[in-house]
Protein backbone atom coordinates (compact mmCIF):
# COMPACT_ATOMS: atom_id res chain seq x y z
CA UNK A 1 0.00 0.00 0.00
CA UNK A 2 2.78 2.33 0.95
CA UNK A 3 4.64 1.66 -2.24
CA UNK A 4 1.53 2.38 -4.27
CA UNK A 5 1.12 5.70 -2.54
CA UNK A 6 4.73 6.59 -3.09
CA UNK A 7 4.71 5.61 -6.73
CA UNK A 8 1.46 7.49 -7.26
CA UNK A 9 2.86 10.58 -5.63
CA UNK A 10 5.97 10.36 -7.75
CA UNK A 11 3.84 9.85 -10.82
CA UNK A 12 1.74 12.90 -10.04
CA UNK A 13 4.87 14.98 -9.71
CA UNK A 14 6.07 13.48 -12.98
CA UNK A 15 2.89 14.37 -14.84
CA UNK A 16 2.71 17.91 -13.49
CA UNK A 17 6.36 18.34 -14.32
CA UNK A 18 5.96 16.91 -17.81
CA UNK A 19 3.13 19.19 -18.83
CA UNK A 20 4.82 22.32 -17.61
CA UNK A 21 8.30 21.17 -18.52
CA UNK A 22 7.47 20.74 -22.18
CA UNK A 23 6.61 24.41 -22.40
CA UNK A 24 9.59 25.34 -20.28
CA UNK A 25 12.19 23.66 -22.41
CA UNK A 26 10.60 24.93 -25.60
CA UNK A 27 10.83 28.44 -24.19
CA UNK A 28 14.45 27.83 -23.21
CA UNK A 29 13.49 28.45 -19.60
CA UNK A 30 14.79 25.21 -18.15
CA UNK A 31 17.22 26.86 -15.78
CA UNK A 32 14.67 29.38 -14.61
CA UNK A 33 12.60 26.48 -13.37
CA UNK A 34 15.68 25.17 -11.61
CA UNK A 35 16.04 28.56 -10.00
CA UNK A 36 12.43 28.69 -8.89
CA UNK A 37 12.57 25.25 -7.38
CA UNK A 38 15.41 26.37 -5.15
CA UNK A 39 14.16 29.86 -4.48
CA UNK A 40 10.83 28.76 -3.01
CA UNK A 41 12.60 27.37 0.03
CA UNK A 42 12.47 30.53 2.15
CA UNK A 43 8.82 30.90 1.20
CA UNK A 44 8.09 27.43 2.43
CA UNK A 45 9.94 27.92 5.67
CA UNK A 46 8.26 31.24 6.37
CA UNK A 47 4.86 29.78 5.59
CA UNK A 48 5.56 27.04 8.07
CA UNK A 49 6.77 29.46 10.68
CA UNK A 50 3.61 31.47 10.31
CA UNK A 51 1.09 28.69 10.07
CA UNK A 52 1.29 25.83 12.52
CA UNK A 53 0.24 22.81 10.57
CA UNK A 54 0.35 21.75 6.97
CA UNK A 55 -2.17 24.30 5.90
CA UNK A 56 -1.23 23.42 2.44
CA UNK A 57 -3.37 25.86 0.56
CA UNK A 58 -1.75 28.88 2.17
CA UNK A 59 1.64 27.39 1.80
CA UNK A 60 1.05 26.70 -1.83
CA UNK A 61 -0.17 30.21 -2.42
CA UNK A 62 2.56 31.86 -0.39
CA UNK A 63 5.42 29.89 -1.77
CA UNK A 64 3.90 30.19 -5.21
CA UNK A 65 4.16 33.92 -4.76
CA UNK A 66 7.83 33.56 -3.96
CA UNK A 67 8.21 31.81 -7.28
CA UNK A 68 6.61 34.73 -9.03
CA UNK A 69 8.84 37.05 -7.01
CA UNK A 70 11.86 35.12 -8.18
CA UNK A 71 10.80 35.42 -11.80
CA UNK A 72 10.22 39.10 -11.27
CA UNK A 73 13.60 39.61 -9.57
CA UNK A 74 15.43 37.83 -12.36
CA UNK A 75 13.68 40.02 -14.93
CA UNK A 76 14.40 43.09 -12.84
CA UNK A 77 18.11 42.45 -12.56
CA UNK A 78 18.21 41.60 -16.25
CA UNK A 79 16.24 44.56 -17.62
CA UNK A 80 17.07 47.35 -15.21
CA UNK A 81 20.50 46.28 -14.14
CA UNK A 82 21.46 45.00 -17.56
CA UNK A 83 22.75 41.86 -15.92
CA UNK A 84 23.01 38.94 -18.33
CA UNK A 85 20.25 36.35 -17.93
CA UNK A 86 22.34 33.45 -16.71
CA UNK A 87 23.94 35.58 -14.00
CA UNK A 88 20.61 37.11 -13.01
CA UNK A 89 19.26 33.60 -12.49
CA UNK A 90 22.33 32.42 -10.62
CA UNK A 91 22.56 35.35 -8.24
CA UNK A 92 18.85 35.40 -7.46
CA UNK A 93 18.19 31.81 -6.66
CA UNK A 94 21.37 31.14 -4.70
CA UNK A 95 20.67 34.14 -2.54
CA UNK A 96 17.11 33.05 -1.83
CA UNK A 97 18.13 29.46 -1.25
CA UNK A 98 20.87 30.53 1.16
CA UNK A 99 18.32 32.53 3.12
CA UNK A 100 16.07 29.51 3.12
CA UNK A 101 18.76 27.27 4.53
CA UNK A 102 19.58 29.77 7.25
CA UNK A 103 15.91 29.99 8.15
CA UNK A 104 15.64 26.23 8.31
CA UNK A 105 18.55 26.16 10.69
CA UNK A 106 17.10 28.83 12.94
CA UNK A 107 13.67 27.32 12.91
CA UNK A 108 14.96 23.84 13.57
CA UNK A 109 16.92 25.28 16.47
CA UNK A 110 19.21 22.60 17.74
CA UNK A 111 22.75 22.05 16.66
CA UNK A 112 22.42 18.51 15.42
CA UNK A 113 19.70 18.94 12.83
CA UNK A 114 20.70 18.04 9.33
CA UNK A 115 20.27 20.81 6.88
CA UNK A 116 21.15 18.33 4.19
CA UNK A 117 17.64 17.02 4.33
CA UNK A 118 16.32 20.13 2.64
CA UNK A 119 17.69 19.00 -0.65
CA UNK A 120 16.54 15.52 -1.20
CA UNK A 121 13.78 15.64 1.21
CA UNK A 122 11.47 12.92 1.42
CA UNK A 123 12.86 13.86 4.76
CA UNK A 124 12.90 17.52 3.79
CA UNK A 125 10.34 18.33 6.37
CA UNK A 126 11.65 16.33 9.25
CA UNK A 127 12.96 19.34 11.08
CA UNK A 128 9.83 21.26 10.28
CA UNK A 129 6.96 18.89 10.14
CA UNK A 130 6.71 16.23 12.79
CA UNK A 131 4.12 14.31 10.88
CA UNK A 132 6.35 12.91 8.22
CA UNK A 133 8.43 10.07 9.54
CA UNK A 134 12.16 10.09 9.37
CA UNK A 135 12.61 6.83 7.57
CA UNK A 136 12.18 8.80 4.42
CA UNK A 137 9.59 6.73 2.65
CA UNK A 138 6.31 7.55 4.21
CA UNK A 139 4.22 10.19 2.57
CA UNK A 140 0.84 10.79 4.00
CA UNK A 141 -1.99 10.74 1.51
CA UNK A 142 -2.22 14.44 2.13
CA UNK A 143 0.64 15.00 -0.31
CA UNK A 144 -1.19 12.86 -2.82
CA UNK A 145 -4.33 14.91 -2.52
CA UNK A 146 -2.49 18.19 -2.76
CA UNK A 147 -0.61 17.07 -5.83
CA UNK A 148 -3.78 15.74 -7.34
CA UNK A 149 -5.39 19.13 -6.90
CA UNK A 150 -2.38 20.85 -8.42
CA UNK A 151 -2.49 18.51 -11.38
CA UNK A 152 -6.14 19.30 -11.90
CA UNK A 153 -5.42 23.01 -11.92
CA UNK A 154 -2.57 22.57 -14.36
CA UNK A 155 -4.61 20.44 -16.72
CA UNK A 156 -7.46 22.90 -16.54
CA UNK A 157 -5.38 25.97 -17.25
CA UNK A 158 -3.23 24.41 -19.91
CA UNK A 159 -6.13 22.92 -21.83
CA UNK A 160 -8.25 26.06 -21.57
CA UNK A 161 -5.43 28.23 -22.80
CA UNK A 162 -3.56 25.75 -24.91
CA UNK A 163 -3.58 27.99 -27.97
CA UNK A 164 -2.18 30.91 -26.03
CA UNK A 165 0.61 28.86 -24.50
CA UNK A 166 1.32 27.27 -27.87
CA UNK A 167 1.59 30.57 -29.69
CA UNK A 168 3.53 32.53 -27.08
CA UNK A 169 5.98 29.67 -26.85
CA UNK A 170 6.47 29.24 -30.58
CA UNK A 171 6.45 32.83 -31.82
CA UNK A 172 6.33 35.56 -29.17
CA UNK A 173 6.68 38.37 -31.74
CA UNK A 174 3.70 37.22 -33.76
CA UNK A 175 1.77 36.66 -30.54
CA UNK A 176 2.46 40.21 -29.43
CA UNK A 177 1.51 41.50 -32.84
CA UNK A 178 -1.89 39.82 -32.60
CA UNK A 179 -2.47 41.41 -29.23
CA UNK A 180 -1.52 38.61 -26.85
CA UNK A 181 0.51 39.49 -23.80
CA UNK A 182 3.61 37.31 -23.82
CA UNK A 183 4.58 38.31 -20.30
CA UNK A 184 1.17 37.39 -18.87
CA UNK A 185 1.52 33.81 -20.03
CA UNK A 186 5.12 33.74 -18.91
CA UNK A 187 4.08 34.62 -15.37
CA UNK A 188 1.17 32.18 -15.44
CA UNK A 189 3.53 29.40 -16.44
CA UNK A 190 6.10 30.32 -13.79
CA UNK A 191 3.40 30.50 -11.13
CA UNK A 192 2.29 27.01 -12.03
CA UNK A 193 5.91 25.88 -11.82
CA UNK A 194 6.20 27.42 -8.35
CA UNK A 195 3.02 25.81 -7.15
CA UNK A 196 4.12 22.45 -8.48
CA UNK A 197 7.52 22.83 -6.87
CA UNK A 198 6.01 23.62 -3.51
CA UNK A 199 3.46 20.86 -3.67
CA UNK A 200 6.21 18.41 -4.58
CA UNK A 201 8.69 19.74 -2.06
CA UNK A 202 6.72 18.17 0.72
CA UNK A 203 7.14 14.78 -0.79
CA UNK A 204 10.14 14.60 -2.98
CA UNK A 205 12.33 17.62 -2.48
CA UNK A 206 14.04 20.05 -4.82
CA UNK A 207 16.08 17.85 -7.10
CA UNK A 208 13.35 15.56 -8.25
CA UNK A 209 11.06 18.41 -9.21
CA UNK A 210 13.70 19.88 -11.47
CA UNK A 211 14.54 16.48 -12.88
CA UNK A 212 10.89 15.87 -13.73
CA UNK A 213 10.51 19.33 -15.22
CA UNK A 214 13.40 18.85 -17.59
CA UNK A 215 14.43 15.26 -18.24
CA UNK A 216 11.26 13.49 -19.43
CA UNK A 217 10.27 16.46 -21.62
CA UNK A 218 13.75 16.45 -23.12
CA UNK A 219 13.42 12.75 -23.87
CA UNK A 220 10.04 13.29 -25.47
CA UNK A 221 11.36 16.24 -27.46
CA UNK A 222 13.79 13.95 -29.22
CA UNK A 223 11.11 11.57 -30.41
CA UNK A 224 8.05 13.63 -31.26
CA UNK A 225 6.94 16.12 -33.84
CA UNK A 226 3.79 17.39 -32.22
CA UNK A 227 3.50 19.26 -28.98
CA UNK A 228 0.53 17.22 -27.82
CA UNK A 229 2.42 13.98 -28.42
CA UNK A 230 5.44 15.45 -26.67
CA UNK A 231 3.43 16.15 -23.55
CA UNK A 232 1.86 12.70 -23.51
CA UNK A 233 5.12 10.89 -24.13
CA UNK A 234 6.83 12.97 -21.49
CA UNK A 235 4.17 11.95 -18.97
CA UNK A 236 4.78 8.32 -19.84
CA UNK A 237 8.52 8.67 -19.38
CA UNK A 238 7.93 10.46 -16.12
CA UNK A 239 5.64 7.81 -14.73
CA UNK A 240 8.05 5.09 -15.82
CA UNK A 241 10.82 6.92 -13.97
CA UNK A 242 8.62 7.06 -10.89
CA UNK A 243 7.83 3.35 -10.98
CA UNK A 244 11.28 2.02 -11.74
CA UNK A 245 12.90 4.62 -9.55
CA UNK A 246 10.95 3.44 -6.58
CA UNK A 247 11.96 -0.17 -7.10
CA UNK A 248 15.56 0.76 -7.69
CA UNK A 249 15.66 2.72 -4.44
CA UNK A 250 14.07 -0.19 -2.66
CA UNK A 251 16.57 -2.60 -4.11
CA UNK A 252 19.72 -0.74 -3.15
CA UNK A 253 18.32 1.09 -0.14
CA UNK A 254 18.83 4.61 -1.37
CA UNK A 255 16.92 7.86 -1.77
CA UNK A 256 13.74 7.43 -3.75
CA UNK A 257 13.95 10.88 -5.25
CA UNK A 258 17.51 10.25 -6.30
CA UNK A 259 16.57 6.94 -7.84
CA UNK A 260 13.67 8.41 -9.79
CA UNK A 261 15.94 11.13 -11.17
CA UNK A 262 18.53 8.52 -12.06
CA UNK A 263 16.02 6.39 -13.95
CA UNK A 264 14.78 9.48 -15.78
CA UNK A 265 18.35 10.05 -16.85
CA UNK A 266 18.77 6.48 -17.99
CA UNK A 267 15.58 6.72 -20.03
CA UNK A 268 16.96 9.85 -21.61
CA UNK A 269 20.17 8.08 -22.50
CA UNK A 270 18.27 5.24 -24.13
CA UNK A 271 15.98 7.60 -26.02
CA UNK A 272 18.98 9.61 -27.17
CA UNK A 273 20.59 6.51 -28.59
CA UNK A 274 17.35 5.48 -30.29
CA UNK A 275 16.88 8.93 -31.77
CA UNK A 276 20.41 8.92 -33.14
CA UNK A 277 19.86 5.48 -34.63
CA UNK A 278 16.61 6.53 -36.27
CA UNK A 279 18.31 9.59 -37.65
CA UNK A 280 21.06 7.53 -39.17
CA UNK A 281 18.57 5.17 -40.71
CA UNK A 282 16.62 8.02 -42.17
CA UNK A 283 19.76 9.55 -43.59
CA UNK A 284 20.76 6.25 -45.17
CA UNK A 285 17.32 5.70 -46.67
CA UNK A 286 17.33 9.26 -48.03
CA UNK A 287 20.70 8.61 -49.56
CA UNK A 288 19.49 5.37 -51.07
CA UNK A 289 16.47 7.10 -52.49
CA UNK A 290 18.59 9.81 -54.04
CA UNK A 291 21.04 7.38 -55.61
CA UNK A 292 18.09 5.40 -56.93
CA UNK A 293 16.61 8.48 -58.52
CA UNK A 294 19.82 9.70 -60.06
CA UNK A 295 20.67 6.30 -61.44
CA UNK A 296 17.37 6.09 -63.30
Amino acid sequence: MDSLIIISTGSLVAICGSILGCFLILRKMAMVSDAISHAVLPGIVIAFMLGSDLDSVWMLVGAGLVGVLTTFLIEFFHQKGKLQTDAAIGVTFTWLFAIGVILVTYYAGDAHIDQDCVLYGEIAYTPINPIILKNGTVLGPKALIVLGAVLLIIVLIVSLFYKEFFLTTFDPSFALATGLSASLWHYVLMSLVSVTTVASFESVGAILVVAFLIVPPASAYLLTTRLSHMILLSCCFGVLSAIFGYYLAYAIDGSIAGAMATVAGVIFGVVFAIAKYLEKRRAISNLEQMTLETSK
Binding site: E164, F166, F174, L176
Partner: protein, 263 residues
Protein backbone atom coordinates in the same frame (compact mmCIF):
# COMPACT_ATOMS: atom_id res chain seq x y z
CA UNK B 1 12.34 63.16 -51.87
CA UNK B 2 9.64 62.35 -49.38
CA UNK B 3 6.21 62.18 -50.84
CA UNK B 4 3.32 62.31 -48.46
CA UNK B 5 -0.03 60.85 -49.32
CA UNK B 6 -3.53 62.25 -49.01
CA UNK B 7 -5.35 59.35 -47.41
CA UNK B 8 -2.65 57.05 -46.23
CA UNK B 9 -3.26 53.60 -44.84
CA UNK B 10 -0.06 53.97 -42.90
CA UNK B 11 1.01 57.26 -41.38
CA UNK B 12 4.17 57.70 -39.37
CA UNK B 13 4.79 60.98 -37.63
CA UNK B 14 8.05 62.12 -36.08
CA UNK B 15 8.90 58.58 -35.03
CA UNK B 16 12.05 58.17 -32.98
CA UNK B 17 13.10 54.84 -31.51
CA UNK B 18 15.93 54.53 -29.02
CA UNK B 19 17.77 51.64 -27.49
CA UNK B 20 19.13 52.55 -24.08
CA UNK B 21 18.50 56.24 -24.89
CA UNK B 22 20.50 56.09 -28.10
CA UNK B 23 18.26 56.92 -31.05
CA UNK B 24 18.38 54.34 -33.82
CA UNK B 25 15.64 55.94 -35.85
CA UNK B 26 15.37 59.72 -36.00
CA UNK B 27 12.17 61.58 -36.61
CA UNK B 28 10.63 59.43 -39.34
CA UNK B 29 7.76 61.06 -41.21
CA UNK B 30 6.14 59.07 -43.94
CA UNK B 31 2.88 57.85 -45.35
CA UNK B 32 1.97 54.98 -47.63
CA UNK B 33 -1.03 54.84 -49.97
CA UNK B 34 -3.60 52.11 -50.19
CA UNK B 35 -2.86 49.20 -52.46
CA UNK B 36 0.85 49.83 -52.60
CA UNK B 37 3.52 47.18 -52.49
CA UNK B 38 6.19 49.09 -50.60
CA UNK B 39 9.78 48.06 -50.09
CA UNK B 40 11.93 49.30 -47.23
CA UNK B 41 15.61 49.34 -48.11
CA UNK B 42 18.78 50.47 -46.44
CA UNK B 43 22.14 49.19 -45.27
CA UNK B 44 22.59 46.82 -42.35
CA UNK B 45 21.77 48.41 -39.06
CA UNK B 46 19.73 51.11 -40.77
CA UNK B 47 16.75 50.39 -38.58
CA UNK B 48 14.49 48.67 -41.11
CA UNK B 49 13.41 45.87 -38.80
CA UNK B 50 13.20 48.37 -35.97
CA UNK B 51 10.76 50.41 -38.00
CA UNK B 52 8.46 47.48 -38.60
CA UNK B 53 8.72 46.39 -35.00
CA UNK B 54 7.83 49.82 -33.72
CA UNK B 55 4.83 49.98 -36.05
CA UNK B 56 3.68 46.65 -34.65
CA UNK B 57 4.15 47.82 -31.11
CA UNK B 58 6.97 45.39 -30.40
CA UNK B 59 9.35 48.22 -29.54
CA UNK B 60 8.40 51.37 -27.71
CA UNK B 61 8.63 54.79 -29.32
CA UNK B 62 10.65 57.60 -27.83
CA UNK B 63 8.59 60.08 -29.76
CA UNK B 64 5.98 60.37 -32.44
CA UNK B 65 3.13 58.10 -33.40
CA UNK B 66 1.94 55.59 -35.94
CA UNK B 67 -1.52 55.54 -37.45
CA UNK B 68 -2.92 52.66 -39.46
CA UNK B 69 -6.17 53.37 -41.30
CA UNK B 70 -6.07 56.59 -39.34
CA UNK B 71 -6.36 54.74 -36.04
CA UNK B 72 -4.09 53.39 -33.34
CA UNK B 73 -2.86 49.85 -33.82
CA UNK B 74 -4.95 48.59 -30.93
CA UNK B 75 -8.18 49.56 -32.70
CA UNK B 76 -7.33 47.91 -35.99
CA UNK B 77 -5.30 44.85 -35.03
CA UNK B 78 -7.67 42.53 -36.82
CA UNK B 79 -6.87 44.29 -40.06
CA UNK B 80 -3.11 44.12 -39.65
CA UNK B 81 -0.86 41.17 -40.32
CA UNK B 82 2.78 40.74 -39.34
CA UNK B 83 5.26 38.29 -40.78
CA UNK B 84 8.41 38.26 -38.60
CA UNK B 85 11.85 37.22 -39.76
CA UNK B 86 12.26 33.53 -40.15
CA UNK B 87 15.16 33.37 -37.66
CA UNK B 88 12.97 34.74 -34.91
CA UNK B 89 11.43 31.31 -34.50
CA UNK B 90 12.90 27.97 -33.51
CA UNK B 91 11.97 25.64 -36.33
CA UNK B 92 12.75 22.56 -34.24
CA UNK B 93 9.47 23.21 -32.49
CA UNK B 94 7.16 20.19 -32.48
CA UNK B 95 4.43 21.58 -34.66
CA UNK B 96 3.01 20.77 -38.05
CA UNK B 97 2.60 23.13 -40.95
CA UNK B 98 -1.13 23.24 -40.32
CA UNK B 99 -0.56 24.05 -36.62
CA UNK B 100 1.48 27.10 -37.54
CA UNK B 101 -0.91 28.36 -40.17
CA UNK B 102 -3.85 27.99 -37.81
CA UNK B 103 -2.11 30.42 -35.45
CA UNK B 104 -3.20 33.15 -37.78
CA UNK B 105 -6.78 32.49 -36.78
CA UNK B 106 -6.24 32.51 -33.03
CA UNK B 107 -7.17 36.12 -32.57
CA UNK B 108 -10.40 35.45 -34.39
CA UNK B 109 -11.15 32.31 -32.38
CA UNK B 110 -10.88 34.00 -29.02
CA UNK B 111 -9.60 32.99 -25.64
CA UNK B 112 -11.31 29.83 -24.51
CA UNK B 113 -12.35 28.19 -27.72
CA UNK B 114 -10.73 25.68 -30.02
CA UNK B 115 -10.17 26.03 -33.75
CA UNK B 116 -13.36 25.17 -35.61
CA UNK B 117 -14.04 23.62 -38.97
CA UNK B 118 -14.13 27.04 -40.61
CA UNK B 119 -10.72 27.94 -39.24
CA UNK B 120 -9.17 24.74 -40.50
CA UNK B 121 -10.66 25.26 -43.92
CA UNK B 122 -9.34 28.81 -44.01
CA UNK B 123 -5.91 27.52 -43.08
CA UNK B 124 -6.02 24.84 -45.77
CA UNK B 125 -7.12 27.40 -48.31
CA UNK B 126 -4.20 29.64 -47.42
CA UNK B 127 -1.84 26.67 -47.71
CA UNK B 128 -3.19 25.99 -51.16
CA UNK B 129 -2.54 29.59 -52.16
CA UNK B 130 1.11 29.24 -51.24
CA UNK B 131 1.36 25.78 -52.76
CA UNK B 132 1.98 23.99 -49.49
CA UNK B 133 -1.29 22.11 -49.03
CA UNK B 134 0.42 18.76 -49.53
CA UNK B 135 2.67 19.55 -46.59
CA UNK B 136 0.01 20.23 -44.03
CA UNK B 137 1.03 17.44 -41.67
CA UNK B 138 4.76 17.88 -42.22
CA UNK B 139 6.75 18.90 -39.18
CA UNK B 140 8.19 22.32 -39.64
CA UNK B 141 11.80 21.32 -39.03
CA UNK B 142 11.63 19.24 -42.17
CA UNK B 143 10.96 22.24 -44.36
CA UNK B 144 13.40 24.12 -46.51
CA UNK B 145 13.89 27.85 -46.07
CA UNK B 146 11.55 28.66 -48.92
CA UNK B 147 8.89 26.34 -47.59
CA UNK B 148 9.14 27.87 -44.14
CA UNK B 149 8.63 31.29 -45.62
CA UNK B 150 5.57 30.08 -47.49
CA UNK B 151 4.14 28.74 -44.26
CA UNK B 152 4.67 32.11 -42.62
CA UNK B 153 2.93 33.77 -45.52
CA UNK B 154 0.03 31.34 -45.35
CA UNK B 155 -0.34 32.14 -41.67
CA UNK B 156 -0.52 35.80 -42.54
CA UNK B 157 -3.06 35.18 -45.29
CA UNK B 158 -5.45 33.44 -42.90
CA UNK B 159 -5.68 36.66 -40.96
CA UNK B 160 -7.39 38.19 -44.00
CA UNK B 161 -5.92 41.52 -43.09
CA UNK B 162 -5.97 44.74 -45.05
CA UNK B 163 -2.33 45.60 -44.49
CA UNK B 164 0.63 43.26 -44.30
CA UNK B 165 4.04 43.97 -42.77
CA UNK B 166 6.80 41.54 -43.68
CA UNK B 167 10.33 41.43 -42.35
CA UNK B 168 12.79 40.12 -44.95
CA UNK B 169 10.46 37.56 -46.52
CA UNK B 170 12.82 36.94 -49.39
CA UNK B 171 15.95 36.26 -47.37
CA UNK B 172 17.38 32.84 -48.02
CA UNK B 173 14.55 31.51 -50.16
CA UNK B 174 14.82 29.77 -53.50
CA UNK B 175 13.91 31.50 -56.74
CA UNK B 176 10.67 29.58 -57.20
CA UNK B 177 9.43 30.56 -53.75
CA UNK B 178 10.39 34.16 -54.34
CA UNK B 179 8.40 34.20 -57.54
CA UNK B 180 5.42 32.57 -55.88
CA UNK B 181 5.45 35.03 -53.01
CA UNK B 182 5.63 38.06 -55.26
CA UNK B 183 2.66 36.76 -57.24
CA UNK B 184 0.64 36.54 -54.08
CA UNK B 185 1.67 40.01 -52.99
CA UNK B 186 0.70 41.44 -56.35
CA UNK B 187 -2.68 39.76 -56.10
CA UNK B 188 -3.16 41.22 -52.63
CA UNK B 189 -2.40 44.68 -53.95
CA UNK B 190 -4.85 44.18 -56.79
CA UNK B 191 -7.48 43.41 -54.18
CA UNK B 192 -6.79 46.71 -52.52
CA UNK B 193 -4.57 45.42 -49.74
CA UNK B 194 -1.36 47.17 -48.82
CA UNK B 195 1.90 45.31 -48.39
CA UNK B 196 5.02 46.71 -46.74
CA UNK B 197 8.16 44.66 -46.97
CA UNK B 198 11.65 44.97 -45.53
CA UNK B 199 13.87 44.02 -48.43
CA UNK B 200 17.56 43.35 -48.73
CA UNK B 201 18.23 42.92 -52.41
CA UNK B 202 18.46 46.10 -54.47
CA UNK B 203 18.37 44.28 -57.80
CA UNK B 204 14.75 43.32 -57.51
CA UNK B 205 13.39 46.57 -56.09
CA UNK B 206 12.13 48.10 -59.32
CA UNK B 207 10.32 44.94 -60.39
CA UNK B 208 8.77 44.13 -57.06
CA UNK B 209 7.75 47.43 -55.53
CA UNK B 210 5.76 50.42 -56.67
CA UNK B 211 6.67 52.39 -53.56
CA UNK B 212 10.09 52.58 -51.96
CA UNK B 213 11.15 53.71 -48.49
CA UNK B 214 14.85 54.39 -48.10
CA UNK B 215 16.15 54.32 -44.59
CA UNK B 216 19.43 54.87 -42.84
CA UNK B 217 18.92 55.91 -39.24
CA UNK B 218 16.64 58.53 -40.71
CA UNK B 219 14.32 58.65 -43.66
CA UNK B 220 16.19 59.44 -46.84
CA UNK B 221 13.31 59.06 -49.24
CA UNK B 222 9.78 57.70 -49.53
CA UNK B 223 7.69 57.67 -52.66
CA UNK B 224 6.86 55.96 -55.95
CA UNK B 225 9.71 53.76 -57.12
CA UNK B 226 10.40 55.59 -60.37
CA UNK B 227 10.72 58.90 -58.55
CA UNK B 228 12.67 57.75 -55.55
CA UNK B 229 14.84 54.84 -56.59
CA UNK B 230 17.56 56.97 -58.13
CA UNK B 231 21.34 56.71 -57.99
CA UNK B 232 21.65 59.94 -56.02
CA UNK B 233 19.27 58.88 -53.31
CA UNK B 234 20.77 55.40 -53.22
CA UNK B 235 24.17 56.98 -52.75
CA UNK B 236 22.84 58.99 -49.87
CA UNK B 237 21.20 55.99 -48.26
CA UNK B 238 24.06 53.58 -48.55
CA UNK B 239 27.02 55.90 -48.83
CA UNK B 240 26.46 58.80 -46.51
CA UNK B 241 28.03 58.60 -43.10
CA UNK B 242 26.26 60.66 -40.52
CA UNK B 243 29.05 60.77 -38.00
CA UNK B 244 27.66 63.75 -36.16
CA UNK B 245 24.35 62.01 -35.74
CA UNK B 246 25.91 58.85 -34.41
CA UNK B 247 28.12 60.76 -32.03
CA UNK B 248 25.26 62.79 -30.68
CA UNK B 249 23.36 59.55 -30.24
CA UNK B 250 26.26 58.14 -28.25
CA UNK B 251 26.27 61.23 -26.05
CA UNK B 252 22.61 60.79 -25.39
CA UNK B 253 23.18 57.21 -24.37
CA UNK B 254 26.16 58.06 -22.20
CA UNK B 255 24.34 60.82 -20.35
CA UNK B 256 21.02 58.99 -20.50
CA UNK B 257 19.26 62.05 -21.87
CA UNK B 258 15.53 61.75 -22.52
CA UNK B 259 14.65 61.82 -26.21
CA UNK B 260 11.80 64.23 -25.70
CA UNK B 261 11.42 66.69 -22.91
CA UNK B 262 8.15 66.78 -21.12
CA UNK B 263 6.54 70.10 -21.84
Amino acid sequence: MIQQVEEPVLEIHDLTVSYDKKPVLWGIDLSVPKGAIAGIVGPNGAGKSTLIKSIMGLTSLSSGYVKIFDEELEQVRSRVSYVPQRESVDWDFPASVLDVVLMGRYARIGLFKRPRRADIEAALFALKQVGMDKFKTRQISQLSGGQQQRVFLARALTQQADIYFMDEPFAGVDAATEKAIIQILKKLAEDGKTVIVVHHDLQSVSTYFDWVIMLNLRLVASGPTDKVFTPELLEETYGGKLTLLTEVGELMKKGQYPTREKQ
